[in-house]
């Protein structure tokens, strides 16, 4: 790893991560198969071309020399679970727990009861409060940068929230994703376009029994700009890639 990130984490936060990862790894063999069974059989979600998606992710993970940030479009509350389910089988995460992406769910959606908080903790979540103080948001972004620098995988939704229109907004890329990519030298971005075949706009969950379309594209955003322009440029490169993937999806349906 580069180890050149400009952002620093406190010792307490680093220990917090070590403990969260250790506990998550310890109990992963218990909850990962259950989650996979729930998604596959109770929810009936079937990932299209899952073998090739998993082969591509395995190939990208094998190159551990550069950090890997997953950026996806966002239509349902369980997208992060479905993406993890699509990218690798549960048994692989149990063996290679670092491959299970860290993600940053909205605190009010996933941390409002002790049970939800516990599940989010085990599933490598770092809750974030949208519209919260800049310091709190910066702390979460710093943690993601730290994890990427360590060779772990993180998942972000560049739009920040679920798309109300059901389509990616090219204006929607926030500050955070550009800032993270800009702070992690050599960061690869795995763009994931995910959509249930019956999905029209946004919802809590995909339609029960739906087939889930998944498309992957790995890019390495770069920018010669400085300051905030660089941050915006990096974020827009990711959004443009996702928009392109969305256009391919809809073109393919015609």
């Amino acid at each position: 790893m580069s180890g050149e990130s400009r952002l620093e984490l406190s010792g307490a936060t680093r220990i917090h991560h070590l403990v969260q990862r250790a506990i998550g790894r310890l109990v992963a063999p218990l909850w990962l198969p259950i989650a996979a069974v729930v998604l596959r059989f109770f929810c009936g979600h079937r990932i299209e071309n899952r073998p090739s998606v998993q082969e591509e992710f395995r190939r990208l993970r094998a190159d551990t020399r550069s950090p890997l940030l997953i950026c996806a479009n966002h239509l349902t509350l369980v997208d992060s679970f479905v993406i993890a389910h699509a990218l690798a089988p549960a048994w692989r995460y149990a063996i290679d727990f670092d491959a299970l992406p860290w993600n940053t769910p909205e605190e009010t959606n996933f941390a409002n009861t002790p049970l939800h908080r516990a599940l989010a903790y085990l599933a490598k979540c770092i809750p974030i409060r949208r519209g919260g103080s800049r310091e709190d948001i910066a702390n979460v972004l710093n943690r993601v940068v730290y994890l990427l620098d360590r060779g772990e995988v993180a998942l972000l939704f560049p739009e920040g929230g679920r798309s109300r229109s059901g389509r990616i907004s090219s204006e929607g890329a926030g500050w955070g994703v550009g800032r993270i990519v800009g702070a992690v030298p050599g960061c690869r971005v795995l763009c994931v376009y995910l959509r249930g075949r019956s999905q029209v706009t946004w919802s809590d969950r995909p339609v029960k029994g739906d087939r889930i379309y998944v498309d992957l594209a790995c890019i390495e955003p770069k920018s010669d700009l400085r300051g905030a322009r660089r941050t915006r440029d990096l974020a827009q490169q990711i959004i443009k890639q996702l928009v392109h993937m969305e256009e391919s999806y809809f073109d393919g349906r015609q």
Partner: protein, 90 residues
């Protein structure tokens, strides 16, 4: 602080220009009418956090300064923005 016309810029002048820059992104125009240094940019003015990057770029252009990502971490209120810009102009 000297503006482009060679005049000394005080805090009020910086604030006036900051508010002018924020105006296109403000969703709560009532809050804008009573804006002060204590007004929170996201919570009170309802500026979309995803658009903060555009606001910062507009600050950079208006005042001919460069603002690092880390600088923005301490900006919650209009007064924070004014103080940050003022410190860059010094």
């Amino acid at each position: 602080m000297i503006d482009e016309k060679g005049k000394q810029m005080d805090q009020a002048a910086v604030m006036e220009r900051v508010v002018k820059i924020l105006t296109p992104w403000v969703k709560d125009e009532k809050a804008l009418a009573s804006v002060s240094l204590e007004t929170n940019i996201l919570e009170d003015l309802k500026v979309n956090s995803a658009r903060l990057v555009d606001v910062v770029i507009a600050f950079e252009d208006e005042f001919d300064i460069e603002i690092a990502d880390e600088d923005v971490d301490s900006v919650n209120t209009v007064g924070d923005a004014v103080n940050l810009i003022t410190s860059k102009l010094d």
